[in-house]
């Protein structure tokens, strides 16, 4: 039979195809200067390894793709019935055992070759980093991420700050019922340029390694559907060089600013602690002013709120206007249904005066 057309080992064609892939990728990347969430642009070893695994596989897949599609198109064209056909039927070929063996064995060999580095990669991705690493605890809430730095006793939300060039091991779980009235659900932590994703499971601990080689801001999102506002549960990772990192730690470990008596900010601080018959901010949030230990509430820690750039699941820039709109009517800023399920930020029916004071206070928490 015509058994010439079989799979050729892909190695011989690697070079031009590699170029082709790179060209395609370049096309994909050309317009995205702002693509900090691009899995094809690894910025650290834990994103680099999967990337280096997938590229050769993609090349092999592309070879197979071209070959098979070529075969389909060629045989469609070559063996189509022509206008001048005599109407006779073609030879009734039933099969060819040798060919069957060929296209069983060759794919099996290719897959076996891919399997070895895959398994190695699985173990090296999941193992503890060899070098000294920093642990950060990640807790998935609906719908925001909380970070706790056990070495420094720091709580923060939405934006995770890490030192560049240091391996970080995330120790992750989802809200437990003791902490949060609402049931914890599964989330997934995904910052594509730093690492692949790993689910956060309530009641269990999972781990994820990541590392940024250079200072920079890296974007990510929750990648496991977690309910109403899943789309609004975003992640920012800010990698800082040593100096900035130290400054950040120093700031975070210091108590919150207490505004001077008589100022608008001080009025805001009062309201923060007491809103009369309405739920006080302090019943869910924490502003640590130096006394006692830090213990988080149901909502994000606000001690150094203004050291962050974004809020509300990192979907809004942290500025006076947005803060005010958020306090006035949270559900217009982010999909939530507090009345129904108690998840998210309630509408406290604040008056204009109260809004002014609270916003002023929050803006002072730097």
């Amino acid at each position: 039979m015509r058994d010439r057309v079989t799979m050729r080992p892909p190695t011989r064609r690697r070079r031009p195809l590699h170029l082709l892939i790179l060209a395609l990728l370049a096309l994909g990347l050309s317009a995205c200067g702002d693509a900090e969430q691009n899995a094809l642009l690894p910025a650290g070893p834990y994103a680099q390894e999967p990337h280096d695994l997938i590229i050769p596989v993609a090349i092999i897949a592309l070879v197979v793709f071209v070959l098979v599609q070529g075969l389909i198109i060629y045989s469609s064209w070559r063996y189509r019935e022509r206008a001048d056909d005599d109407g006779s039927l073609p030879e009734q070929v039933h099969g060819n055992t040798r060919l069957e063996i060929v296209w069983t064995v060759i794919p099996a060999l290719i897959l076996a070759a891919i399997a070895v580095p895959t398994v190695q990669g699985i173990f090296s991705q999941m193992a503890e980093p060899d070098d000294d690493f920093m642990t950060i605890e990640v807790i998935g809430h609906r719908w925001w991420f909380e970070y706790y730095y056990p070495d420094h006793d720091i709580y923060t939300a939405n934006e995770m700050v890490i030192p560049a060039n240091t391996p970080v091991r995330l120790q992750m779980t989802a809200t437990d019922p003791a902490r949060d009235a609402s049931q914890g659900v599964i989330h997934s932590f995904w910052v594509p340029r730093l690492a692949g994703k790993q689910d956060l499971v309530p009641g269990q601990t999972t781990f994820l390694n990541l590392q940024a080689d250079e200072p920079g801001r890296f974007l990510g999102m929750c990648a496991e559907y977690c309910g109403l506002s899943h789309a609004n549960m975003r992640i920012r990772v800010e990698a800082l060089d040593d100096g900035d990192w130290q400054a950040w730690v120093d700031n975070q470990t210091s108590p919150a600013t207490v505004p001077d008596e008589g100022t608008l900010e001080a009025r805001g601080r009062e309201l923060y602690g007491d809103l009369g018959d309405r739920q006080a901010c302090a019943s869910c949030h924490q502003v640590w002013e130096g006394d006692g230990s830090r213990s988080p509430g149901q909502g994000p820690d606000l001690t150094h709120l203004m050291s962050r750039q974004e809020f509300a699941g990192a979907i809004h820039d942290l500025d006076a206007e947005n803060l005010r709109a958020w306090l006035a009517d949270p559900e217009s800023m982010k999909a939530m249904n507090y009345e129904l399920d108690g998840i998210g930020m309630p509408n406290l029916n604040l008056t204009d005066d109260e809004l002014d004071a609270l916003v002023a206070y929050l803006l002072a928490l730097d």
Binding site: F123, M126, A127, E128, Q198, Q204, T205, T206, F207
Partner: protein, 107 residues
Amino acid sequence: MSATETEDTGTDHGHHPTAREYVQIAIVLAILTALEVSTYFFDFGRIAIPLLIILMAIKFVMVAGFFMHLRFDTKIYSRLLYTGLIFALVLYSITLAIFVFERAPSA
């Protein structure tokens, strides 16, 4: 209208146990059950659990083989039943093994 498969034709299996044989089987089953229950009252030590599993398997095969006529019927029935059983055993064993040995993805 003959069947063309290699499997035997017709369900008119050669043997049907008599009522007396059924009772004898039931007595054996009763004795095995008594043995099973005795593990609760007496300490069998480390052999208790293997023993229970073996007794369970024997009872299983006896009920299926005699009361359900599997021993005397066409093999197709056995294959259907035991395919399901083996699928269930293998799949759920793997699942439980993952829970026991592979629960948390820590190194």
